[in-house]
Subunit: 406 residues, 2 copies
């Protein structure tokens, strides 16, 4: 029996790996038109210029009385001005009476201002008796009026291409009367677990088999960062099977993520399948865990081969796949919620490797949650993670670290 | 014409409003079984106890050779031990040979350990010539082995009820072979805009009309905090219409959110509709903007009446609806991404009212983005907001504030 194992001898530094991944990951160009109802978090593909005024007419900004401002000059608590109310203007209605000096119209917030009126007196500053309204305060011209176009004027650039839509931006588009909007498509991520031992959950295990974990962890994280998941059946560790699986992934993926098959075993064949169809851009990263990671491309489609170990696969998803996917989706860099805390005990790290280290938060301290390599519980029981750079080999007890919360 | 406007004279302090809302908002009791594929962010309704061992068998943690550990004692770079390789054990396969002293089996990471083997020597520490393998390092019993059940043992409590699922927790459930999981249902939020002037986007405006904004802003924010949106058609400002709309909202909502109709105009009738069917718990909050907010309930269903102004409605969504919804969805308190920055200019606030203030981040400074009351662009162009407590009336230029990013 003559077999050859292929250890990873050269690794690329973590920062360089990220840079090389981003360099070879093209931002998505495909666009689509979607309803405003489902546009949250999406990225505008074109600039939006207003075709109308918001508000579309001069309107009352307060409940009260529309007045000719000059009629109120000199009014005070003990020197009210009396005006005659000629009409009530409800919101959604149209005034029928223009105001002359000495007249006012009762008006609701948001209702159109009558012609001739130049200000609104708040209801709290008035008293009414039949059609006579006493005004206890002066108002200046324009007071308590929302001017036509003051919020958004016709022809104004409202949102530029590349803007990520949030609730208030969606509100601004609704204010313009838009029902749908052109956005960049979300990258489709083909996710595939490889390995003869990998079985779908829900079936019994035969000896030597384990359940697929990676497609669930990857499938959970991808939609949070602008991607959609295209799921492919588990592939066996066989060059033909992997090659066929890669072809299938390439037909419907903007990005292909394999897990398993990129380590050093003789039967780890992702590297061969990728070399045959495209190019390998690096194999092996100076990161812990997650070293046996391969990155390449077929045509313009990036292919990321993740380690099979669930913790390594998931830590690399946080460190590599998230920035890659957000770059492709045209989203800004991820800003995890972070707590700066002292570490509860000394942490020894591996010099020369960028380390992903899970921690729990206990009594205001970041406490290592790491159990053993590959243990999913070391991540599922953690509150977050810290990153220890390659040049750091020790974090002393009490030193502060930035804990990125899961 | 005899009409009565009803100013809001008494307001509840902001903190008390939040406390009262939470007190009268019951956490959801309904549960449902969903696939692991769609379980991200959901809340476990029951505890999960492992029915199996993870890993399900002793397995190699490295590519290399399974050995009897004692055979390697004393091995070194210049004093290798020679062993005879009797088999190759691939991942997903089952060993057919038990090892005796002097023997080894080539083994891949994740493959089951042969009987008799007690450790794995990494491939990097070996050299092979036909069936003879030279071992250059000693290993201790158990080294580079993942023990059966070491990650998760049979009968172990894996995740407790109330846990929010994240990628690694979903991974832990997949490791157990689960396909679906019992979670709390997501609160259904009935969203309704009221007002005679409110028109659906996509149609032309008649005089005095404006487009509905609030259902889009609320509809964008609700799914981010564990709720689903049940949309209802815009209701006219008419007691019968509002009453019918409230009935419709109550039939399919765990929580009802109205916008508009809770201010002081004579035709603001939410208060009347709510009083007729249930109870008003408060009307008016010492918050700016967003004062004209009503909270009540019909039976056990909470009803939140938001101001019609889009900015007031949305700021109250951040300040009141988000904590309310997360409480109902059994999610932990929201942790917005926050930047602590000096303010770029003096900000004058209203004493006695908790203020929501939009800011842009410019050159590391928090700069006011507020334009005019109700202007949606003051929010859509902002990067985030600060909160100024009721007892603070001034934030001096250069003082630091916590900017919560949108």
């Amino acid at each position: 029996m003559a077999t050859t194992m292929r250890p990873i001898r050269d690794t690329v530094p973590f920062d360089e790996a990220v840079a090389r991944i981003l360099e070879h990951t093209p931002p998505i160009e495909r666009t689509e038109r979607i309803g405003l109802d489902v546009a949250m978090g999406r990225v505008l593909a074109g600039s939006i210029t207003s075709q109308s005024d918001v508000p579309p007419f001069d309107r009352a900004a307060m409940d009260g009385y529309a007045v000719v401002a000059e009629d109120t000059f000199g009014a005070g608590r003990y020197a009210p001005r009396s005006l005659t109310c000629v009409e009530t203007v409800y919101t959604g209605a149209v005034p029928t009476r223009a105001l002359a000096s000495g007249q006012c119209s009762q008006i609701a917030t948001g209702a159109p201002m009558p012609d001739g009126a130049s200000a609104v007196v708040m209801v709290e500053e008035t008293e009414r008796d039949a059609d006579t309204v006493r005004i206890f305060t002066p108002v200046y011209p324009g007071q308590h009026i929302g001017r036509k176009g003051a919020d958004i004027g016709v022809g104004r650039a409202v949102l530029s291409a590349g803007t990520v839509l949030n609730p208030s931006r969606i509100g601004a588009l609704a204010a313009l009367g838009l029902l749908d909007v052109d956005v960049y498509a979300q990258p489709r991520v083909s996710v595939l677990s490889t390995g003869d031992e990998i079985v779908e959950p829900g079936r019994p295990l035969d000896p030597g088999q384990i359940y697929d974990i990676n497609r669930f962890t990857l499938g959970s994280i991808i939609p949070l960062h602008g991607g959609t998941v295209s799921r492919h059946p588990t592939a066996l560790d066989d060059l033909d099977a992997l090659s066929d699986a890669l072809d299938a992934c390439l037909t419907d993926g903007d990005l292909v993520v394999f897990s398993g098959g990129s380590s050093v075993g003789e039967r780890d064949l992702i590297l061969d399948a990728l070399t045959a169809k495209g190019e390998v851009l690096f194999h092996g990263i100076a990161v812990k865990p997650g070293k046996p990671t391969v990155f390449g491309r077929v045509g313009r489609t990036p292919v990321l081969g993740m380690p099979g170990y669930p913790t390594s696969c998931l830590s690399n998803a946080y460190l590599l796949l998230v920035p890659m996917l957000r770059h492709m989706a045209r989203l800004p860099r991820h800003q995890p919620v972070t707590r700066t805390l002292p570490v509860g005990q000394r942490i020894v790290s591996t010099t020369g490797r960028h380390q992903f280290y899970t921690v729990r938060i206990e009594n205001g301290l970041a406490v290592p949650a790491f159990k053993a390599s590959g243990d999913i519980t070391s991540m599922s029981q953690a509150d977050g993670y810290i990153e220890i750079p390659a040049q750091t080999d020790l974090v002393e007890k009490g030193e502060t670290v930035d804990v990125k919360l899961f």
